[in-house]
């Protein structure tokens, strides 16, 4: 980990260098800052609010997608009596699906979310660097 001198200390101060819990995020906006600095601050705030909204949409979308797939799977294994009649090694298909089929679904949604969230942050970084 690079614990050297922080290069650019902005919205996210390098928290590892702050002593303990009671510290607040320090953002040194002096009351005498000039107009240009204020404009940059406003842009910062707009970008980070936009990032927060995008991430929330992604999070809610992921959960909604998971719930839809999980409910569909539940209705299928509970409502299709055919699945009770077929079995593998003596265990009915409905039991097998209930025991093992949900985990791949959970993992796929976790993976999709992590990718999407990293992409959103990359886009935010690109915007900030263009300033």
């Amino acid at each position: 980990m690079s614990d050297g001198a922080p290069r650019r200390v902005r919205v996210t101060a390098d928290v590892r260098r702050l002593p303990a819990s009671r510290t607040q995020p320090v953002r040194l906006a002096s009351p005498h800052a000039d107009a240009a600095a204020d404009a940059v601050d406003d842009a910062d705030a707009v970008y980070s609010r936009a990032l927060r909204r995008t991430q929330l949409r992604l999070a809610l979308g992921t959960v909604a997608g998971f719930v839809v797939v999980a409910v569909a799977l539940t209705v299928a294994i509970a409502g299709i009596p055919e699945l009770d009649r077929h079995d593998i090694g003596g265990v009915p298909l409905s039991w097998l699906l209930h025991a093992f089929a949900f985990y791949p679904v959970i993992f796929v949604f976790a993976l999709l979310y992590a990718r999407g969230a990293a992409r959103n942050e990359q886009r935010y970084r690109t915007l900030r660097e263009r300033e």
Binding site: S21, P92, I106, Y124
Partner: protein
């Protein structure tokens, strides 16, 4: 069963825990090492440690017992536990890592700038943690009763002494290594017997009649919609409210690695749950006679020696016993670390010495409770903890991370409402065993207590004349922006 072999297995797990703890002690020097392992833990190690600490007595012994006893209904518990980490990932993993706080109360205080909100959170965190340690100690007691015929208090005291000692000595750094080791031990201890027993069952004389072993009435078709939905809501949202789960994210180097760690955790706990569910299916085939309350939780311990008489069965049983003890140790250790972090900062000065004292305090209280109460079903006692965490802490954490309008009064009102509503519902249900129509709503209160707590938090926040704290926007920006540009 060979009691001597099983006790040797317990002793080996204990010895490994202490040795790895001592190794960690040499590596941990500063206060930061003690609380958050100096935030240098790599994703794979951290994910093993999180999974190791998450898989408790309830899942190691309880799941196969529940599937044996209640049928496919039991599968909902591990599904809910695994999906709970999906919600942790999407809503809180990276933001909480970026908050830069040590514990949940630290986060609440920094977010809401209120000492009162912090104190209420601390009390809830302590309650949840203690409630969760008790079934671990009960599980240890039951195990030693079954395999060695020892009185139940010995297992509880043994686990408490080991955990209190290891945490006080090594802090978070040592615990990370211990728990990572314990995840792999637990997986091996269940996977090897499941594979061997499956082969034996496939080649053996067992004639399976699906209609009696896996009756459709106990299968996925027999679910109760309200009960299942409410249970899953509690398990999904409860995970993020558990004190030891959040404390772990503070040890990741940054938000992105906190997310990567969580995806790995989802995979690791899923693999374990799949193996545990397979054990439940095998139990229904091979040990239907154990399907009684009280005996069912011991099926994972009893099954190997039934299928393989002689030394092979004894060795397998010893392996399962070792895994079970790893489960009790890992979960209790994780809880004691996070609880000791809270107590030492709230009550004492936050120094290394106060952390050690707090670790001892946090072990003694649940030990006393465990010795004074009789063990109920392991899965249901763990389930109660999830319902309580989901009703009290989770709504406030979610709103704190995503809603800028949250105020200290709103958070306190919501936490108290959720905790009281959930506590009363469960106590009334336990006291009168349900009253007609209200029974399902008292037994599984999550479906109404979580919305109630959320609504109270939002309404009180909106009515609060003081409004949200002045630094809210800055703090939220810090939670959601990447660390390095």
């Amino acid at each position: 069963m060979n009691a001597l072999l099983d006790l040797v297995a317990v002793a080996l797990v204990a010895l490994a825990t202490v040795l790895i703890g001592v190794y960690g002690l040499r590596a941990s020097r500063t206060t930061s090492d003690f609380f958050v392992a100096s935030r240098t833990v790599r994703p794979v190690w951290n994910a093993s440690a999180i999974s190791g600490e998450y898989l408790s007595a309830g899942t190691f012994l309880g799941l196969s017992g529940l599937v044996l006893l209640g049928g496919a209904r039991g599968f909902w518990f591990p599904i809910g536990y695994a999906a709970g980490y999906l919600l942790v990932l999407v809503f809180v993993a990276a933001p909480l890592r970026r908050s830069g706080a040590y514990t949940i109360p630290d986060f609440i205080e920094a977010r809401l700038q209120s000492g009162a909100a912090r104190r209420v959170t601390s009390v809830l965190v302590l309650l949840i943690g203690w409630l969760y340690i008790v079934p671990q100690l009960h599980g240890a007691g039951i195990t030693l009763v079954v395999v060695a015929g020892l009185p139940p208090w010995i297992g509880a005291v043994l686990v408490a002494v080991l955990v209190g000692g290891a945490v006080a000595a090594g802090g978070m750094r040592a615990i990370t290594f211990v728990q990572a080791f314990q995840y792999w031990l637990k997986l091996t201890a269940l996977l090897v017997p499941v594979v061997l027993i499956s082969f034996a069952a496939a080649g053996g004389p067992h004639e399976i009649d699906p209609a009696t072993v896996f009756p459709p009435a106990a299968g996925p078709g027999g679910i109760d919609a309200y009960e299942t939905a409410s249970l899953l809501l509690a398990l999904l949202l409860g995970t993020m409210g558990l004190p030891h789960v959040l404390a772990r994210f503070y040890t990741s180097p940054d938000g992105v690695s906190a997310r990567r760690t969580t995806v790995l955790v989802v995979a690791m706990v899923s693999v374990f749950y799949a193996v545990s569910s397979a054990m439940g299916l095998l139990a229904r085939v091979l040990a239907p006679d154990l399907a009684q309350p009280g005996a069912a939780d011991t099926v994972a311990l009893v099954l190997p020696s039934r299928v393989f008489p002689g030394l092979a069965g004894e060795l397998l049983t010893a392996l399962v016993v070792a895994g079970a003890f790893a489960a009790f140790l890992a979960t209790s250790a994780g809880l004691v670390v996070s609880l000791a972090g809270v107590i030492s900062q709230d009550v004492f000065s936050g120094s290394v010495r106060s952390f050690r004292l707090s670790a001892v305090l946090c072990t003694v209280v649940p030990l006393a409770v465990a010795l004074l109460t009789a063990p109920a079903g392991l899965v249901s006692s763990v389930g109660v903890v999830f319902v309580f965490a989901a009703s009290s802490l989770s709504p406030m954490l979610l709103l704190g991370v995503w809603w800028r309008g949250l105020t200290a009064r709103g958070a306190v009102a919501g936490m108290v409402t959720g905790a009281v509503a959930c506590g009363l519902a469960l106590l009334v249900y336990a006291a009168v065993d349900g009253v007609g129509l209200a029974a399902p709503y008292l037994a599984q209160p999550a479906a109404w207590t979580i919305p109630l707590a959320t609504a109270v938090t939002v309404v009180v926040s909106l009515l609060d004349r003081h409004g949200p704290p002045t630094r809210t926007d800055r703090y939220l920006a810090r939670l959601h922006s990447p660390e390095r540009l």
